[in-house]
């Protein structure tokens, strides 16, 4: 019979099993009746005839069994029987079944999400970009320890000329732009524009969600300016209510009217992650009028603005293309960068087009954070697998009696193993289905937080989930099944525990390992929670913080257009609004600064100062402290002439004054300040003179996050691109925000409002997001502890089950039931303690890494350790005590009764 025919038969055997069984019985019954009638016709009594017919026919059950086998599809019958048996068993022990299912669901869900995210980061292109091996990024690099650089238009054109390697090359120049959709309520908004070579969408194979791409299509089509745009899904939905609403709309991009002709596919935000979802793509010919660039941008080999991607010619490998690109890059470098040292030499390479290009291309681009994520996933996986395994071992050992009897009744060992495996497969099937749900929920979370990579399930993720579920089921199920069926009948029926001590010892090891793993995980999580909780602003914000609005305007984009600075007029107009007390332009903060008392400024003293304190520096104008009602306790506030002083005046808070100067008067003392943030470290230290001390614990008077360091203040000198305003009102400020927005729109149409809100709103937002983070971190820790507790519970429960006879003997000999319970309770607790002890060094290492990575203060860490140890001990005690209590319920009469 052909394979197809056989498969059809199998399917029929499964699908029509019930009907075939019925028909078989009916047929054999008809046979018996006919035989009985024949015998009755020969003169037998009806009863005798029926009896003789039965005898003549043979053993009905055995014949049916043979007939079934001949018919084929016996395995389906057996599987159905196994499933029925398994379901009956789960109904008898629902708690174990549910626990295993939940554990598997968590394990499968979590590890699939991690797998999906990792493959999303490492191997998949950005959302909306086809997964095509022919697509590559041509990446400009510079220096021996390579950093990425942009390409000039001539260089880009040189790569496009490599037609034997690239079927097509695309390039794009990026810029922040202001888009005015003519919406009177919302006003202008900021977006990231990519001015792309017109072949961009076609070459990369990106299918628009709606509309069409540009009329221009050639790589080098630069004139006339085509003023059309493709917008991202985010812009289409937020501003036009969907793709349909966006198409055909005329919007002003940097005050140049542009027609929206297309909407990008779901989540597409460019081929390389930028973190921005409001994206707009315009043909390169629109670059000069919209971004105000001149012809030099297309001819100057030193004007680098472009990123590049390409489609390889069929049969050309990445390394072939790379070799050709290197030659071109070296030629370009020789003409534009003749004096280059190895540290500054420009080169280029070719890498597969991924959502996040940087990771994994160079060894030193892989930070430790890329290792922490998979490590956590591995821990979860390990914990889940050991828990499932120990639960199954416990279950199997608990069923030795039943299994022994089945073996004795003639069931083959394979039959019993198959039965046990069927149970595990059913459990992992249900667990896998639930895991799919967990997976989906986690992916939505990841998708919401990240724009650069695609995490939607693909064949690789699906294959991973299926393989993982099957592997877990087989690994976790096979070993207990083999062990359980190896037990001899006589052993089982005598209930000797010798065969099982090794097993329970193994399970003890599992639990110890689990607690040892779960504990450091939780210590680290608790430390993070405490750290976050410490920063949650108090909820009871009243008064002043509701009367201050911080508005952040994207003034710098307007300034790039060489438009006149609208901010002074804006400050004046807002100040004239009824209810507004004062309007202050404030700086964006200057980051972390290291401070040291100035030496007796001896000339030529080149010894590097030994810094004593770190502070967060803020630049604020005169009147700032009065506005935020922070009292100056010594010295004076800033005045307008402060920016002209040769030594910068500084106002510090009381804590900083105490740590720097102790009890002596700080006014007039000098400090040396070095900037600590990246990119500013190279600046030479500057001298400051203390002019005032303010009573203010942390600077929370902007919408930014409060710093861990005490604040220091320097005079603010406004630059045209600055756009942060502090607006103090007489009454509650929230109702004034729409009025402020409309003033901004009227006065400075092209200055988008990035953020606006009262300090109170900022506090609430911050609080909300921190509670959310703390909550999810705490949830992870709870799950880890729960899994360990389940393992411990299973272990103690198993020990009680195994030693029922021993308990019976003890109780019969007069042992107090309380002593018996205590014995098991202590046993469970002892295992937990060993786990805790082993986990301790891991915890210390985890905390050390955390302290080093986050700058978290060490004093919190012992607190976190103490809290977690208490929690673990409490949970362990509970997980031991609940099953230990069962020992008290053992009736010696029942336990000692021979089977």
């Amino acid at each position: 019979m052909s394979a197809v025919g056989r498969a059809r038969k199998w399917v029929r055997a499964v699908a029509m099993r019930g009907r075939m069984e019925r028909e078989m019985r009916e047929e054999m019954q008809a046979h018996l009746t006919q035989a009985a009638e024949r015998l009755a016709a020969r003169g037998m009594s009806e009863h005798d005839a029926r009896f003789a017919a039965r005898r003549e026919f043979g053993q009905l059950g055995a014949i049916e069994e043979d007939a079934r086998e001949a018919r084929g599809g016996v395995w389906a019958d057996n599987a159905a029987a196994d499933v029925r048996y398994a379901l009956r068993y789960f109904l008898r022990t629902p708690l174990t079944a549910i626990t295993i299912i939940l554990t598997l669901a968590l394990g499968i869900g979590f590890s699939s999400a991690v797998f999906s995210t990792l493959t999303g980061i490492l191997t998949r292109p950005a959302p909306g970009v086809p997964d095509d091996p022919a697509l590559v990024k041509i990446r400009g690099i510079v220096g021996a320890r390579p950093a990425e650089r942009l390409l000039s238009y001539p260089e880009l054109s040189a790569y496009a000329a490599l037609q034997d390697k690239f079927a097509s090359v695309v390039g794009w120049a990026s810029a922040a732009v202001v888009i005015d959709a003519g919406d009177r309520d919302i006003g202008a908004f900021t977006a990231r524009a990519q001015f792309v070579t017109p072949n961009y969408f076609r070459t990369l194979g990106i299918r628009l969600a709606d509309g069409r791409t540009f009329a221009q299509s050639g790589f080098a089509e630069l004139a006339p300016a085509e003023l059309t745009a493709v917008v991202s899904e985010a812009i289409a939905t937020e501003r036009f209510g969907g793709a349909r609403g966006a198409l055909g709309k005329h919007v002003k991009v940097n005050d140049v009217e542009v027609t929206i002709i297309g909407v990008a596919p779901h989540r597409f935000a460019g081929v390389v992650q930028s973190g921005e979802t409001r994206m707009v793509w315009l043909p390169l010919s629109a670059w000069p009028p919209v971004a105000n660039v001149n012809d030099r941008a297309f001819t100057d080999a030193n004007a680098a603005s472009f990123d590049a991607a390409a489609r390889l010619q069929p049969g050309v490998s990445v390394s072939d293309a790379m070799a050709a690109v290197r030659v071109v890059a070296a030629r370009e470098n020789a003409t534009t960068n003749a004096q280059a040292t190895p540290a500054s030499a420009a080169s280029a390479d070719v890498v597969p087009l991924r959502g996040i290009i940087e990771i994994g291309q160079y060894a030193d681009e892989m930070g430790p954070s890329q290792i922490v994520f998979p490590a956590i996933a591995l821990l979860i996986l390990l914990v889940c697998t050991t828990t499932v395994s120990s639960l199954l071992v416990g279950k199997a050992v608990g069923r030795r009696h039943e299994i022994g009897v089945r073996l004795a009744l003639g069931a083959s060992r394979w039959r019993v193993i198959r039965q046990l495996l069927t149970e595990v497969f059913i459990l992992s099937l249900v667990g896998g289905a639930l895991g799919l749900w967990v997976f989906g929920a986690l992916l939505r979370l990841v998708e919401v937080r990240n724009d650069g990579f695609d995490v939607s399930p693909n064949w690789a993720t699906t294959a991973f989930m299926v393989v993982y579920a099957i592997a877990t089921a087989t690994l976790a199920g096979l070993s207990p099944a083999l062990h359980a069926t190896r037990v001899g009948l006589s052993h089982v029926l005598k209930d000797t525990s010798s065969a099982t001590t090794r097993r329970s010892r193994l399970q003890g090891t599992f639990v110890i390992a689990q607690i040892a793993i779960a504990q450091p995980l939780m210590v680290v999580l608790a430390a993070v929670i405490i750290n976050i909780a410490g920063k949650i602003p108090p909820a009871n914000v009243v008064g002043l913080r509701e009367r201050i609005v911080v508005a952040e305007l994207d003034a710098y984009i307007g300034s790039a257009l060489k438009a006149p600075d609208r901010m002074p007029a804006l400050v004046q107009r807002i100040g004239e609004l009824p209810g507004v007390v004062s309007v202050l332009p404030v700086g964006r903060g200057q980051g972390r600064s290291a401070l040291e008392l100035s030496q007796s400024s001896a000339p030529g003293d080149s010894a590097a100062p030994r810094f004593r304190s770190v502070a967060s520096a803020y630049d604020v104008p005169p009147g700032y402290f009065r506005t935020v009602e922070a009292p100056i306790v010594r010295g004076r506030e800033f005045v307008a002439s402060d920016t002209a002083l040769s030594v910068t005046p500084v106002i510090i808070n009381e804590q900083l004054a105490a740590s720097l100067f102790g009890s002596s008067d700080p006014i007039g003392r000098r400090l040396t300040r070095a900037l600590l943030d990246n990119g500013l470290r190279d600046q030479p230290p500057r001298e400051l003179e203390v002019v005032g001390v303010v009573r203010m614990e942390t600077e929370t008077n902007s919408l930014g996050y409060p710093s861990d360091f005490p604040p220091m203040f320097v005079p603010y000198e406004r630059r045209p691109a600055d756009g942060r305003l502090l607006i103090r009102t007489a009454g509650p400020a929230e109702s004034l925000i729409p009025t402020v927005m409309s003033v901004v729109r009227a006065e400075a149409r092209l200055v988008p409002v990035r953020r606006i809100g009262t300090l109170g709103q900022g506090d609430r937002e911050r609080r909300g997001s921190r509670i959310e983070v703390a909550g999810s971190v705490a949830g992870g820790g709870m799950i880890a502890l729960l899994l360990a507790a389940i393992g411990l519970y299973a272990m103690v429960g198993l020990a009680v089950g195994q030693r029922r006879r021993e308990i019976g003997v003890r109780v019969a000999l007069g042992a107090n039931t309380r002593d018996v319970v205590a014995m098991f309770f202590k046993g469970g607790l002892r295992v937990a303690m060993v786990g805790l002890g082993l986990g301790l060094p891991l915890s210390v290492v985890g905390l050390a890494i955390l302290a080093q990575k986050t700058g978290m203060v060490w004093i919190q860490l012992p607190v976190a350790g103490a809290i977690v140890t208490t929690a673990v001990v409490t949970v362990a005690a509970l997980a031991s005590w609940l099953p230990a209590r069962r020992a008290a319920g053992v009736d010696p009469m029942v336990a000692l009764r021979p089977d």
Binding site: H31, D66, A67
Partner: protein, 110 residues
């Protein structure tokens, strides 16, 4: 084909069943009776051999079954030979004739 090598008896039983069903479609009980009658009680096939053989032939698509009303008005499962069954029957008959001829020749040896 079944993976088990058919024993002589099994092969013979299948030949008998196919041959009789080709002559006249009938149900399991009648078939057993007919074998016994035609072989003048030499061959008595019990249900334990007959039904597995019928089911095996049906699974191999050599015979097919349909539910019909018998002469006594009872619902019975009537088997008939399929085209594939006829082909196999012809082959098996040839083989049997050759085998029987060979055996006869051997038994002629004095």
């Amino acid at each position: 084909m079944s993976s088990k090598s058919p024993s002589l008896l099994q092969g013979t039983l299948e030949l008998i069943v196919l041959q009789l069903l080709r002559a006249e479609p009938t149900n399991g009980y009648e078939l057993a009776q007919r074998i016994q009658a035609i072989s003048r009680d030499v061959l008595s096939i019990n249900a334990g051999s007959l039904y597995p053989a019928l089911y095996r032939l049906e699974a191999r698509d050599l015979i097919r079954a349909s539910w019909q009303e018998s002469k006594t008005g009872r619902r019975v499962k009537v088997y008939s030979v399929t085209t594939a069954g006829r082909k196999v029957l012809a082959e098996q008959r040839d083989e049997w004739s050759r085998f029987a001829g060979a055996l006869a020749a051997i038994l002629e040896v004095r």
